[in-house]
Point group: C2
Chain length 125, copies 2
DNA sequence: TGTCTGTTTCGACAGACGTCGAGACAGTGG
DNA sequence: CCACTGTCTCGACGTCTGTCGAAACAGACA
């Protein structure tokens, strides 16, 4: 059961725990890169980027698949596939409540990614 | 010459000009998603994430391909391919000086991406 | 000029990705 | 219990991606 072999993804990480120095200050080590790259890859599709935004900006902090799907000219299975990708990347959590499934963003993970990309205004400017 | 058809990438944008509201505050419109997704996609590979970091954190703000390549167990052409990807994503600029080619990060673009992912600490928490 | 080193382009290949249709599963309501 | 709706999984398809080796290109230097 406990597949130790699985390379450990962001989805497993509590995200508060581990930390990222800004990209431009310290070289990202290989393990960190391997951990974080899938999250960026997940955001690297226009549809998923919009999905992520719709979920993160939804009032109440969560969005129903039934609201997400009609916003695109794509079939249900395709949207579901993209949502799964976001889930596996650790960017969102899903919860079923009755008939509908709700997705909500994981702010801590987004913050980590933002911190990694952050660039301090040039020293003393 | 002026291929209007070309969908306009981040590499063309001055990056100071256009702006990104944080993902979690306003829905990212489709055009913005199409513009920014390639940048995230480019960062969505562990090798490129490390390359980006090595370039951005290099002293003098630039890194030589000759320093980048030996840091990976990959062939020269492969590294060159990844650097091209970063270039086309608008994340880095390249300049040839004599024998060597130097890459430097485009901080404005990184800042844009960071701003997009940034999450304000929950209002009054 | 010719040769050498550093970098990129080209062509090829296996594997991953985005999309779809069909079907399976979950919950609600008759 | 059965039908209906919402969501996900499965299998398939064409395309894109990461990697390589071979070859082309660019500068430096003898």
């Amino acid at each position: 059961m406990s597949k130790q072999a699985a390379p450990l993804t962001l989805a497993d990480v509590t995200a508060e725990v581990f930390c990222c120095q800004p990209l431009a200050q310290h070289r990202v080590p290989a393990e960190t890169a391997a951990l974080l790259a899938p999250a960026f890859k997940a955001l690297g599709d226009p549809v998923r980027l919009q999905l992520m935004s719709m979920i993160a900006s939804a009032e109440g902090g969560e969005a129903c698949v039934c609201d997400l799907t009609p916003a695109f000219n794509l079939t249900g299975p395709t949207i579901s596939h993209h949502l799964k990708t976001l889930r596996e990347a650790g960017l969102v959590d899903a919860e079923r409540r009755g008939t509908w499934v709700y997705y909500r963003a994981r702010p801590a993970v987004l913050r980590q990614l933002a911190a990694l990309l952050s660039i301090e205004p040039a020293t003393a400017s």
